[in-house]
Symmetry: C2
Subunit: 360 residues, 2 copies
């Protein structure tokens, strides 16, 4: 066995592969898992595929996120996509680019989280890849799922209600708290309060967890396939404004949001108010909420609410889809005002997505 | 439309996504492709999954590889894994981490290669992900395939012949040529001969193409599933010595190689001899050949040769699997001598894999 602080370059690629392989349990449906040229898995006739990446310095900092939580999140951001398709997650591959000086404890922590979150959600890790990284850590997870009645982004109808699960803004608030020195430990408990006092502990914990260890409503998402209660779905990863715009574009519709109905996370709102910020803005544009945004025919709303009660999940009707050019408006006292979707742009420009004039 | 040299940060994540999406054709079996939370694809009851990454500064240099060839190779290294399972490649996701200052022409070139190679092999690009990279370019492709009779690494039997397709060493020689200034252009033609003269053009072209644009024997690999001619298979990516060791470990057998039977690529051998190097060493340990290494029962060899003729593929019997501790030997005049598998280690140590004493 290796010491936890052994740099992975001393263990070598093959040694590390063997070490990780020994940690991955065999699971149902896996004919051949880690260790062959490709994994061989049982699937139904329709397979869902999604891939998402966490890049050090872009999506996370090693000093902000214990590796175990990073492993959990690397899977969770993909689980969220499967939830938005009303699918069942089944198999994941993990492709890691790692700096050679990284200690084994980091990789083991990452796998603690990946394995734990996989077990929680019935996912089997079936393979992956290890490569050196001349820069930082890159974690690319590809998740396969199964589905029968698939929910697409393109199915919204005029008159459908825009309904969002859970609360919004806590993950974005969590990011601000990290900047201010608040930290979670590997077990997900509050380790540092940063500039805040211990009296804010419950709010800090809620927001840091939302940022570092999001838990998408997978079971609720899955239950949407069983009854025809929803026309379209998307996960709220870019932010409510940006993801509603995605639904509008794919469905060829406009939509409006009533700001009074947006479910701003109450604990995030308290912290944001304390620093003089705009909590509604966080909830509209913050992103990384990993909740579901749904297009629901009004006559199915009660059925949907009954479903959400089973999973103890709040639902909020935040607006409506209408006939019109794809775009999102805010309902104000002065009428409907265009809402720029201030989604995070990975390449560094603050794109107002509503201004699509520059797009090809 | 954008100018080719526009930095992608000026186009923005969403603009680039839309641009790339418009380039990807719809294909058979794709219920929902690029643009939803997950792709939805038709699969059989058994699905093959493999993932492989190309990291700038580790697997490639931008000055060495035109982006079109890089796109081709990013898919080909995954195709090779599906070939080694006797599968049919079907769907791919592409996850890109890109420096924000990268010009659009690079991303378009990459997609030229990805789309071209996909079309050649019947693969549909069904989704992916874009993220910024604070370091270099990272290209992660996950490939799904179908198979009925799957070839595993673990099926070799004592007495099986070790058979390799094609020739070995050209890709490793190609890497040396790149270091010496030889270059291919985007169309795969010889652009610079480096320290070599034009009289070596045919050999330079062969070896540079083997390195920058490998073409795994996909159709031959697929044909292996139809007849029971092969017990086990692996693709030669780490090098003959290393990959034979993988087969040995998974099958619980030893194996020997007759160095006189190793199909050293004749053009690579010529160049290597000209610089006073050891061509056999290249062929044994060089890696990235993307040929197939098979465990074949002696009484099926003729049938296998008949198959290979159809695909115009040379086959070489290089050795044999035997009862014994997993390990590879070289057959010499003095008898069998242990062969250290000098596989490339991504984390930077030259591991002699035969020395497994440090492995957990």
């Amino acid at each position: 066995m290796y010491e936890p602080e052994t740099p992975i370059q001393e263990i070598g690629e093959r040694g590390l592969l063997q070490h990780l392989r020994s940690r991955i349990p065999e699971g149902p449906g896996v004919t051949a898992g880690v260790g062959d040229d490709a994994a061989v898995v049982d699937t139904g006739p329709l397979t869902l595929v999604t891939t998402d990446v966490l890049v050090e310095g872009v999506h996370f900092r090693r000093s902000w996120s214990p590796p175990r939580l990073l492993g959990r999140k690397a899977l969770s951001v993909n689980l969220s996509d499967i939830a938005a398709m009303a699918g069942v997650p089944r198999y994941a591959t993990v492709s890691l680019c790692l700096p050679p000086a990284l200690p084994l404890s980091f990789v083991d922590g990452l796998y603690d989280g990946l394995l734990e979150r996989s077990a929680e959600t019935g996912v089997n890790l079936v393979g992956g890849n290890l490569a050196a990284s001349p820069g930082g850590v890159v974690i690319n997870v590809t998740l396969l799922g199964q589905g029968d009645r698939i929910l697409l982004r393109s199915g919204a109808q005029p008159g459908d209600l825009a309904v969002v699960s859970g609360t919004l803004g806590a993950a974005a608030e969590g990011l601000r708290l990290l900047v201010q020195g608040a930290r979670l430990g590997a077990e997900g408990l509050l380790e540092e309060t940063g500039v805040w006092t211990a009296s804010s502990a419950a709010a800090l914990l809620r927001c840091l967890r939302a940022q570092l260890d999001p838990v998408p409503p997978l079971a609720f998402g899955r239950s949407l396939s069983e009854r025809e209660v929803v026309h379209a779905a998307i996960d709220v990863s870019d932010g409510l404004s940006g993801d509603l715009l995605h639904l509008c574009r794919e469905s060829g519709l406009a939509a409006w949001i009533d700001p009074a109905k947006v479910p701003v996370d109450p604990l995030a709102a308290g912290l944001e108010r304390a620093r003089g910020g705009d909590a509604l803005r966080l909830a509209l544009h913050g992103g990384e909420d990993y909740e579901l945004l749904l297009a629901v025919p009004p006559d199915r709303l009660d059925t949907l609410r009954d479903l959400a009660v089973i999973w103890d999940l709040p639902l909020s009707v935040v607006g409506e889809f209408t006939v019109g050019e794809p775009g999102v408006s805010l309902k104000t006292a002065r009428g409907l005002e265009p809402l720029a979707a201030l989604a995070h742009d990975h390449f560094g420009v603050a794109t107002a997505e509503a201004d699509s004039s520059r797009e090809a």
